[in-house]
């Protein structure tokens, strides 16, 4: 048998629901919560899908990128909206690193450099 070269397999996404095989009660709680989070509310399901897509890039989850690219396209988003959402995620991620440089700056000053 060919050696697996990756832990990530696209077909595994479909098996997400099977995680309830063990600890079904906890899995059910999670999926109920998940379903409620993504329902139309003060934010539309479409806006939530785009947020999920941005976050998926930030946490670098290939399953979520797959699922929420498809989901947001199904909900009618444009390519421009997809890429703007990804850039929002990237900007926060980059900004979150950079803003910590304030600590470095403080330290540098503290050290009297």
């Amino acid at each position: 048998m060919a050696q697996e070269t990756t832990y990530y397999k696209p077909e595994d996404l479909k098996k997400f629901g099977n995680i309830g095989e063990f600890e079904p009660d906890l899995a059910k709680k999670f999926f109920d919560y998940y379903g409620a989070v993504f329902a139309d509310g003060a934010l539309s399901a479409k806006e939530k899908s785009l947020i999920a897509l941005a976050v998926a890039h930030v946490v670098q989850c290939p399953y979520c990128i797959d699922a929420y690219t498809t989901d947001s396209v199904e909900k009618g988003v444009t390519e421009e909206q997809i890429w703007e959402a990804i850039h929002v995620g990237a900007a926060i991620r980059g900004g979150a690193s950079l803003v910590h440089s304030v600590q470095a700056l403080n330290k540098v000053k503290e050290l009297g450099i």
């Binding site: 399901a45 396209v73 199904e74 909900k75 390519e79």
Partner: protein, 347 residues
């Protein structure tokens, strides 16, 4: 692009298409559509009545869209003749048959199209036309069609795959979006799609790729906002349809390697509420040669209705109302998610 038939593609054969759907379903261990309906207590599927007569007046079209389930195009020659149209009019006159839904190809290219609409209009029935929009700009012969539609109060149902040029042109051909917008403006100028006008203009959205149409009302809002703001175009309602895994869309699914995933997705998204409202239950579909089908998709798969009646000339409403609808794996396309039919989402 030419039609599958003109290219001599194996997929031009309905048998081949059904064979592929059966094989892939077997390989993926997908339940048969009939079994799925059994689970939902909807089997055998029976009509609620022939309310709509959907007449496909021919496969000739000025476009060759990538996803076309009819395999229509400028190279197709199948056209309904006047005699068959007369038979359709007799059926349409039957009490309880309330709507004539004219489809194609581009139905306007049938030389007897205007006569057919005029005669149907005399019967006082609702008339719908599946118009691809660009035909309205396809030459002098067609320029006054919007006025003709308005005169007979024809409801116009037009495909517009997306509110942006790129995706629309990718599916329907270069330049189709700009011409569609021009045609929509012309229809608007006559009152079509304008609030409080009695001239109805509905749009049909179907995905440009191998994904499902989700959230009809969100999509309708997006289409309305974009088309109004950017192009000053208005319409009444948007119908979101999923693409049927047959004919040229089947070809693109095979070419892109997406057929298995698409079928699985359709099956996973099966919705019993949508299944109860599929269009074959209130529609009878007539082919260009007068043959009868449960819907336009069955027509393209050459699945003629079962029973004693096979032609529109033999139309008998009570016999047809009690027929059993023929089903195959493509039917999952009508029952995925919120469902889709020629009238849009059902559930």
């Amino acid at each position: 692009m030419r039609s599958l038939l003109a290219r001599g593609s194996e997929l031009a054969s309905s048998k081949e298409q059904l064979k592929i759907l059966t094989e892939v379903s077997g390989k993926l261990d997908l339940p048969s559509f009939s079994d799925k309906l059994k689970e939902a207590a909807l089997y055998p599927l029976r009509p609620t009545g022939v309310d709509i007569l959907q007449v496909n007046v021919g496969k000739l079209c000025n476009q060759t869209c990538k996803h076309c389930h009819v395999d229509a195009g400028p190279d197709r020659r199948e056209i309904m003749n006047r005699e068959t149209m007369e038979e359709c009019l007799v059926a349409l006159a039957t009490p309880g048959v309330n709507t004539l839904d004219i489809t194609g190809g581009a139905p306007e290219m049938n030389p007897n199209f205007r006569w057919f609409v005029e005669e149907a209009s005399k019967l006082g029935k609702k008339i719908m036309i599946r118009c691809n929009l660009t035909i309205l700009l396809a030459g002098e012969k067609y320029r006054d069609l919007p006025e003709f539609f308005a005169e007979h109060k024809v409801e116009v149902v037009s495909s517009l795959p997306y509110f942006q040029k790129r995706r629309t042109d990718a599916q329907r051909g270069e330049g189709v979006f700009d011409r569609s917008i021009e045609a929509l403006r012309k229809l608007n100028s006559l009152g079509y799609g304008i609030p409080d006008s009695d001239l109805v203009l509905n749009l049909v959205y179907n995905p440009v790729g191998s994904f499902l149409a989700g959230g009809q009302s969100t999509l309708e809002n997006d289409f309305k906002k974009e088309l109004k703001q950017v192009y000053d175009v208005q319409f009444n309602s948007l119908f979101a349809l999923s693409n049927m895994p047959i004919s040229r869309f089947l070809e693109s699914l095979l070419e892109s390697g997406n057929l298995e995933a698409y079928l699985e997705k359709l099956v996973t998204a099966f919705n019993p509420v949508a299944a109860a409202g599929v269009m074959c239950r209130n529609t009878l579909s007539v082919g260009w040669d007068g043959s009868l089908y449960d819907c336009d998709f069955n027509q393209m798969l050459d699945m003629k209705i079962e029973g004693k009646i096979s032609k529109i000339s033999e139309f008998n409403k009570s016999v047809l109302d009690s027929r059993e609808i023929l089903l195959h794996q493509h039917c999952y396309g009508c029952t995925a998610g919120a469902g889709s039919s020629c009238g849009g989402s059902i559930a």
